[in-house]
């Protein structure tokens, strides 16, 4: 049986009259890009390549003229870019396309060959909702991603990192999901920072519904971003392709908590292919929720990060933002050299010890011990007593 002739045959519109809703798009790059965001699924590399090569308008013309694969023309009868724009505006959103001041030039990395593999494919456009200027805020930004099934540990560490990064003027970018994502957005907002959620559905929708209030706050104070037009539903592959946008929009990606198999690892993979820094937060080896992070450390060369300072060092201006040297408790023998340490340790806390005994015990030359004793006396570590020397360090 010829399945194409069967009852379920899909109707590919014949090449011919241009659908009314697409006519304006043949004259306008913005509208044409909006149309493409409906004709092709995220990650449709052929579509991304065609648009990158000939431009959105010419590519659309070609499709409507019957050239290229059927799948785009099949969807053309449902495309209504002006309608999508109106829907976005109704939700307080806008369309951002290449050439706009707000377009993040970083996204062009998605059209470059990455590690010998084919390019991941830049989006045709971005649908954005919220006051943040997307290019400006993402110029200094950290993707904090991780498992939905986060532990209390993961949520705590995420909150610390996100708040610390926001304090250091990084925008905190994540996926708006439960768990690590939500903790990252919340903590950044809580300290007055900027946070951006990149969604797998339209920016007029709340997914997951349980995060509706959080997403609404992000739309008020940060930004919601998507490459699929208003009304679009999230699907598994849209989540996967969304991850490439999180990786491409940010200065680097940090995975806070992720199971051995976790979508967050795909974000790290995309970031790596884009040559962006990737950090992983370690956790207890007894916690399956950290197994993916340890996998990144073991197998993928991710950098171990344990504080906002260390993330800033990883993602900030190269060499300009080293994590501060950790302050540690001073100990009595800090700063002593090898010989000084040996003599200091031979000094008794009580009574006294003569030079001969010190030379024997330390196993050093007499002249060395004498010189060392002089220095230790100055710093109070050695004290002269009748019969020799004792320690000046409180025991």
């Amino acid at each position: 049986m010829n399945r194409r002739s069967g009852p379920g045959r899909a109707a590919v519109p014949p090449a011919g009259p241009v659908p009314a809703a697409l006519r304006a798009a043949l004259e306008d790059d913005r509208l044409a890009r909006a149309a493409w965001s409906r004709l092709a699924e995220p990650g449709d590399a052929a579509a991304a390549h065609l648009v990158a090569e000939v431009g959105a308008v010419t590519a659309l013309e070609a499709v409507l003229a019957g050239r290229g694969p059927d799948r785009w023309r099949t969807r053309s009868r449902e495309a209504d870019p002006a309608g999508d724009l109106a829907a976005a505006r109704a939700a307080g959103g806008r369309l951002v396309v290449p050439g706009d001041d707000e377009w993040p030039g970083r996204l062009e990395d998605l059209d470059r060959d990455a590690g010998g593999e084919r390019p991941l494919g830049a989006p045709f456009c971005l649908w954005v909702r919220g006051p943040a200027h997307l290019r400006e805020v993402t110029a200094r930004s950290a993707a904090l991603v991780g498992a939905r099934a986060a532990t209390a540990y993961g949520q705590h560490v995420t909150s610390e990192l996100a708040a610390g990064l926001a304090d250091r003027r990084f925008a905190v970018v994540s996926g708006g999901a439960f768990g690590i994502d939500a903790a990252a957005h919340r903590a950044a907002l809580a300290v007055g920072g900027v946070s951006v959620a990149v969604l797998a559905c339209g920016v007029d929708r709340s997914y997951p519904p349980g995060n509706a209030a959080l997403l609404a706050r992000l739309a008020e104070r940060g930004a919601l971003v998507s490459e699929v037009p208003p009304g679009s539903t999230p699907t598994r592959w849209r989540f996967l392709e969304r991850n490439r946008l999180i990786a491409a929009l940010t200065s680097g990606t940090v995975v806070v908590e992720a199971a051995w198999r976790s979508g967050a690892l795909s974000t790290a993979d995309r970031a790596e292919r884009l040559l962006r820094p990737v950090g992983a937060v370690p956790g207890p080896v007894t916690s399956p929720a950290s197994a993916g992070c340890h996998r990144l450390l073991r197998e993928r060369g991710a950098v171990c990060v344990t504080s906002a300072d260390e993330v800033a060092e990883l993602l900030g201006e190269l060499g300009r933002e080293p994590a501060p040297v950790r302050s540690v408790e001073r100990r009595a023998f800090d700063g002593l050299d090898r010989d000084e340490l040996r003599v200091a340790e031979c000094l008794p806390r009580r009574g006294g010890c003569d030079l001969e005994r010190l030379v024997l015990d330390a196993g050093l030359e007499l002249a060395v011990v004498q010189s060392v004793l002089g220095r230790l006396e100055l710093s109070g570590i050695a004290v002269r007593v009748p019969g020799g020397w004792r320690s000046g360090v409180p025991g």
Copy 2:
């Protein structure tokens, strides 16, 4: 004032008649090495170099003839190698020197230049107590080291690693201290494995006293090892130098738990200089007891290890002992390619969906969707129903 002429002046024995206790050592390499283990402190690089160059007997002759630094001759009046050997035997111990079958050839790495720095210095001899054949058991061995102030987490992970490594026929080597060290020794012994403690004091002593019972068991079933002669007390620099022996005796070093400043890091440093593998076990970033491990991962290129399998992969025969692939729960869509995944996700759980709708939703070519449906039907993921297709995966 000329301090050398003061009342505390150390008496350097004049060159001249050889002390009675050292006469036999001038005829016997074993005795001469035993003597050197008392004349020079561990890590006295000049002594190690001299003995390596001219041999222990000739080096001893030179010292007694008044050549070389005073510090060795100063101690010569207290040296009694035959007495030390008798004391070792009385404690059930023995002396092991280069050339003995039991001498671990690995220790020669200590006399090689390491990373452009001067050699760490091989020991003159080893004092050993216990039934283990030192060369044979250390040929396949893991140093498990860490903080004395270990957490319950650190002790638990140490026990798991040590037991797992003993099961895989690795000797577990550590320093006999409280905390991680003790947990490693105990767990290895508990599963009938071999464990070796390298001490900073004589093998006839129990330090720390609280580990006396453990050390006694190691002397019965594994080995206690030291480069300092019987009766020697542990000092801070002997602990530090002891760490180079732990690093040099083993196939590699794993730090399980260590504070930002911890002696265990010095063992890792020595292992690195000897080009031995170094692993670090991650832990909560909120735990100061793991900060040193994370530092090793961040700054020193240590390998992140989370299980005995991963340690065995790191330390075992190269490429012969890969950690097994982690078994994970099978999921319904495992093994599907990208197009199959897309179509599978578009199938409704109830009712049916016609081919036209599937083509639109998946954004794929008709022919692709048809071919994919055929494959998904075979695996039960797609089910034909009146009016089209539905999902065969239980929701």
